[in-house]
Amino acid sequence: MEISDSLSFLLTLPLFAMVLSLFVPKGVQRVYSIFASLLFLGLTIYEASGILFASSSEVAGRLAVEHQLVWLPQLGARLALRLDSVSVWFVVLNALTAVIAFSTKGIWYRKNPKLFTAMGFFLIFGLNAAFLSLDLVVFYLAYESVFIPMIFMVGVWGEKQKATAVFRFFLMSFLGSILMLVSIFYLLSKQFKTGIGYSSYLPDLIPTAGGLQGTEALLVFFGFFLAFAIKVPLVPFHAWLKDVYTLAPFPATIWMSAILSKLGVFGMIRFVGPLFPGVMLSVQGVLLTLAAVSVVYAALLAYRSNDPKSLLAYSSISHLGFVMLGVFTLKQSGGASAILLSVGHALVSGILFFLLSKIAERKDGIDLTNPQGLASKYPILFTALFVAVLASVSLPGTLNFAGEFLVLLNAYPVSALCTAIAGMGAVLGAAYMLKFFQQMGFGAPSPESDSAVAKSEDLGGYELILVFVLLITVIFCGFQTAIFLKGN
């Protein structure tokens, strides 16, 4: 294991970018933020390259970078950052999502752009802190600090009637996270009573958590589980999601679906798994059922949606159900598959929402009840969208297929029934995603359907390159899954 303090750059750079954004003129905020996030992506990949492209798990394990800073000795909290084969994916995704989100265009670059950019970089900082931290208290801090930019983004640039949505999102997430905090505290106070003193460093807490028995263990576990289940979200903890996805501005939606939801997945893999292996095993049936039900339930709701954003929102729940199914197999291979699918889902949902924002720029008010016939007007845009849709329905050859396939493959020996239920979701997935694409793209374009303000340019330039690169990544990674699965 290598000790490196270059890791803290992953935290300080976004903060620096945030401060800097306050001094950048309003007109060039978009250019600045895209440039800065690209730079940050490059640096992240450079930083992570050792692990990212390691030939095998042993190599990656050796390369795992850990960095510790004393922070709160009295409370036993420290800045323990760790970049390893789990967190590296989420860190890279974080940087990548930022690029996608900043590349959108809209009111957030016209009204108060400095706040938007600053909030964006703060979000990157918070997420990175959460993904890197191996200390539960610091993780919690980072986990919760992510709310702040989200609230502002949805609240300031969201559509009308956003207030309720913001509060639901905030309060439900907060409810989950505060119960997690209570669980963390409970563990800490247990640990204190054994005479070790406080230390919220994960490896130090694992024995304490292992010492819990029966209902006690179940309740402490539930605190953690609830937080992440709300974040992901799993049905029945999902009710906050639709409104906030729908009413949020596009960059916020991209962030939420691509990376914020992964915070739940990450937490489940990084913290809940190691802390409560016994409890997880004893309630595995329930967990798998929840995941499988999420898949089908959300798919049915997506099928019913006529608003593209809410359709994609539900599809997000549905796909994350697959991810959670992988996590809940409680096998290392299942976890690895879940990470694989997470990456796929993050990329694809990022692209989908990005492209949807591009369509929304060109047409006011897309509604899926009438065919719009836009594909023939914007062939490149819709080709890209179609490829993304295919990836989303996990057509073989894409990263999502590899993920979904491996997840189901791993889940099947554990619970054939849940796998079968989730499999139904795949069929429904095809149904609603095709509906999504067809109603926007196909049919006869009616002349009056073009809004007067919309420009009729097809996708091009920087945006085309961005989308192209991302799609190629999705397909390339779909075949080169070894990058993700080394050694599992």
Partner: protein, 616 residues
């Protein structure tokens, strides 16, 4: 790397064509059919040439169990699973490869002519993509790779059926095909999971050599068969195929007649050793195949759309092939795949030529007397007609007769199956002759509008017709290139092949005669109808079922329960707040009283709650 070359040539063609298409459209230029067609057809022809070379290479290795294997890279490797991306070229794959590349090349060529008016490079890109995926399906060395091809052809099929996407009807047909296939795909997916769980591998060679537990083999076989019913349009998942005729006719010829729909047979052939372990599966396959053959043949007799007739005919013929697989004579089924590919492609292309000539008319009751106007089409169509009827010496005769024979002699053979198939063959002769007579003979019923533009097809369309009619003629003479076993068991029922031959040809002729008598003169208009109405049943039961389920879930669970719960929690907190507020009356003395009461409670708590103070 010869196999990889032949697989990736169509992908190269796809990329080039797509690039050409987009470079044109971004410069606001119409992409021309000629360039796209040339690129795509070139790629296919090259691929065909390579596959012939590969064929000879395989032959030089001796047919037996020889195969050419190529492994490109490791695709997935996790938790004991090891999936390599690679190809295996053996006898079974070879037949399919030759058919795909060969017939594929011809249809590409044909399309240049057929799509000249409303085609674009996009169309050819899709065709190439389809061929690439289909080659993956038949050449893939592992089940996931087969699955890649399996869903990939579904995708190409979706794109091509919905090619004219301005019409939402076409799009709906495409979507239906995709989703019904997806249901079937689930079978393959779960077969893979089952296979991996028990055999620990997904490599096709290892998997088919694995001896499953009998019950597992049954489930595995049924799951595989479910996948096949989807792709090969068998009961219960056949209703998408007639609708798929919404696509351009060459597409129907290539995908929905010659190649894609036969992939079910490929899969059953490939996994035959496993399937054959379970008698249950075998009889299910046979029964479903026979039922499909009969049902589709009956339906075809009531169709008026030229392509729909051919579509039901395809379903029916696929039923024949499945029966062959089901009775344990997969090789005969594969033989029929090949001959069917030739003559059904020929028939479709001929129909396409007719439709092309009549500017899009597809109703056979609005045709008639086209013999004189479209001589090339007529003669080639005649060959196809003879082949599907099974008249000697046309190719269909050999393969169909083979299947009929196998139903009696093969290990899982059954006279009932024979009877059904024989009756289906009779019906086949009836509806094909009906079609033939209505289109080409008699008086012209063509509308005046269409008559103005009527013309024989251009050379690029005629050449494939001619080539295919030759193939349909001679295709049966060599027997199946794949003969798994040179001899089979002695006839169980003592019925000789000669007797069956006579019976089948006699039935065909009888059917043809009845049709001729009925339709050669005094043609009365008929309306197309579906005697079984299975499609409608599906629509109302499953289609609306899902819609209803979705809206019920949405209304009662989502809006009614979860969203309400969220609201209710807010309301509850609010209610609690208002409840607590009622004490906040503003009266100082009221506050004081509350405080005094609290104090009394506390004092009582001390006196009665603390042990020993109760009786001071």
């Amino acid at each position: 790397m010869i196999i990889s070359l032949l697989v990736f040539l169509p992908l190269l063609g796809f990329s080039l064509t797509a690039f050409y298409h987009f470079s044109c459209s971004s410069r606001k230029k119409e992409p021309t059919v000629a360039v796209g067609g040339f690129l795509a057809t070139g790629a296919m022809v090259a691929s065909f040439c390579v596959s012939i070379v590969a064929w000879f290479k395989l032959r030089s290795a001796g047919f037996g169990d020889a195969s050419i294997e190529e492994s490109l890279f490791s695709w997935m490797k996790v938790g004991g699973l090891q999936v390599d991306f690679g190809f295996r070229f053996d006898r079974l794959s070879a037949v399919f490869t030759l058919v795909i590349t060969g017939v594929g090349s011809l249809i590409h060529l044909y399309s240049i002519g057929y799509m000249e008016n409303d085609g674009s490079a996009r169309y050819f890109a899709y065709l190439n993509l389809f061929c690439f995926m289909m080659l993956n399906l038949v050449l893939g060395s592992s089940l996931p790779q087969v699955f890649l091809g399996w869903e990939g052809v579904g995708l190409a099929s979706y794109l091509l059926i919905g090619f004219w996407s301005q019409e939402m009807g076409n799009v709906a047909a495409a979507q239906k095909a995709f989703i019904m296939n997806r249901i079937g795909d689930l079978g393959l997916l779960f077969a893979m999971f089952l296979g991996f769980k028990f055999a620990g591998t997904l490599d096709l060679a290892q998997l088919s050599a694995f001896a499953f537990r009998p019950d597992v083999a049954t489930i595995f076989g049924l799951l595989i068969f479910l996948a096949c019913t989807g792709k090969s349009a068998q009961i219960p998942l056949f209703t998408w195929l007639p609708d798929a005729m919404a696509g351009p006719t060459p597409v129907s010829a290539l995908i929905h007649a010659a190649t894609m729909v036969t992939s079910g047979i490929y899969l059953l052939g490939r996994l035959n050793p496993v399937i054959a372990q379970s008698p249950v599966v075998m009889s299910v396959i046979g029964a479903i195949g026979a039922a499909t053959a009969l049902m589709a043949a009956i339906t075809a007799c009531f169709q008026t759309d030229i392509k729909k007739v051919l579509a039901y005919s395809t379903i029916s013929q696929l039923g024949f092939m499945f029966v062959a697989c089901g009775v344990g004579a997969a090789e005969t089924g594969v033989f029929h795949v090949m001959t069917h590919a030739f003559f059904k492609a020929l028939l479709f292309l001929g129909a396409g030529s007719v439709i092309h000539a009549l500017s899009g008319t597809q109703d056979i009751f609005k045709m008639g007397g086209l013999r004189r106007v479209l001589p090339w089409t007529f003669w080639t169509f005649t060959v196809g007609w003879a082949a599907i009827l099974g008249l000697p010496p046309f190719s269909g005769f050999f393969s169909k007769d083979g299947i009929l024979h196998e139903t009696l002699v093969a290990s899982h053979g059954n006279p009932v199956l024979f009877g059904i198939l024989a009756f289906s063959a009779f019906l086949t002769a009836f509806y094909m002759t009906r079609l033939y007579v209505l289109v080409f003979t008699g008086d012209s019923r063509v509308s005046e509008e269409a008559k103005k533009h009527i013309h024989e097809s251009p050379l690029v369309m005629v050449i494939p017709l001619v080539v295919l009619s030759i193939a349909s003629l001679v295709g049966g003479w060599f027997g199946a290139p794949v003969r798994f076993e040179e001899t089979h068991a002695a006839p169980a029922h003592g019925v000789s092949e000669a007797v069956i031959m006579v019976v089948s040809v006699g039935l065909a002729l009888a059917g043809a005669y009845i049709a001729y008598r009925k339709y050669s003169s005094n043609v009365r208009m008929e309306l197309s109808k579906d005697p079984f109405r299975i499609d409608e049943f599906y629509l109302s039961f499953f289609g609306n079922g899902v819609k209803k389920a979705s809206s019920m879930v949405g209304r009662f669970l989502e809006d009614g329960l979860f969203q309400k719960m969220l609201q209710a929690s807010g309301v509850a907190v609010d209610l609690g707040g208002n409840l607590f507020k009622t004490v906040q009356t503003g009266s100082a003395q009221g506050y004081l009283l509350m405080m005094v009461l609290a104090l009394i409670g506390l004092v009582c708590g001390l006196i009665f709650g603390v042990p020993g103070y109760g009786n001071f």
